[in-house]
């Protein structure tokens, strides 16, 4: 056995075929980062929706803008993915769904529920 042989390293993320559980992990991070960036906008909308009846109507009007609808659909995907993946991690913490087969199954369920939520929002808005 030649242990000095240089082993191939595949750290190029586009060459690695990632398991579904890894995709959930990365999406959990990405959706979390996106949601943090959205916090100021959410606080701003909360403030305006509560300031007066007029500013409340302005917020309602804003929700009908095309760019806002796109943002709401992406935001719904992010929040629901983060929500369902978070529940999955909490369950794994208490030893539910730790086995490889069930962890893979629950990862697919998270992706599916996030997609369904985003499509539901799209259906509501469009």
């Amino acid at each position: 056995m030649n242990n000095n042989k240089i082993r191939p390293k595949h750290l190029n993320l586009f060459k690695i075929r990632m398991p579904v559980t890894a995709v959930v992990s990365i999406a959990h991070r990405a959706s979390g980062a996106l949601l943090v960036i959205l916090i100021p906008a959410i606080v701003y909308l909360l403030q305006h929706s509560l300031h007066s009846a007029q500013t409340y109507d302005e917020v309602v009007q804003l929700m009908t803008q095309p760019w806002m609808k796109v943002l709401l659909i992406i935001g719904t995907w992010a929040i629901s993915h983060h929500f369902f993946a978070g529940i999955r991690y909490l369950l794994i913490d208490i030893d539910i769904g730790v086995l490889k087969s069930s962890a893979r199954r629950s990862a697919w369920v998270v992706h599916l529920l996030a997609l369904v939520s985003a499509l539901w929002m799209a259906g509501t808005l469009l």
């Binding site: 991070r29 943090v36 100021p40 606080v43 403030q47 509560l50 300031h51 409340y56 978070g86 909490l90």
Partner: protein, 115 residues
């Protein structure tokens, strides 16, 4: 035990779980509360937010959210930003932004409570 509480890794882990569970319960409460509401529009929305229970629950939600965001951002920055000065600068920027958000929410909720 005190040694356990002082280790920042475990503390971050515990904060992340507790804030997550609170937000989970809050979201369910919010969904039920809105499903059962009798009217829509500004009047009913501002009345809902002026209710002390809801007002405090929303305040605690944002407190949990900002703690949760802090732990998450800290994890991301510690994973990807290696040079110490840069890491410190980014952590300070995030901390200041989240603290500012907390103060802003406090202001909004105090105004909403008095409406």
């Amino acid at each position: 035990m005190s040694k356990l509480l002082l280790s920042t890794g475990l503390r971050a882990w515990v904060i992340q779980r507790f804030s997550a569970v609170y937000m989970l319960v809050f979201v369910v409460y919010l969904a039920v509360s809105f499903a059962l509401r009798e009217s829509t529009g500004f009047e009913s929305w501002s009345a809902w937010m002026a209710n002390p229970i809801n007002n405090v629950a929303v305040g605690l939600f944002f407190f949990a959210l900002l703690l949760h965001a802090w732990v998450g951002c800290r994890d991301i920055i510690m994973d990807y930003v290696k040079p110490f000065p840069l890491r410190l600068i980014k952590l300070v920027i995030v901390a200041v932004m989240l603290l500012a958000m907390g103060l802003w929410v406090l202001l909004v909720l105090l105004q909403a409570a008095n409406y």
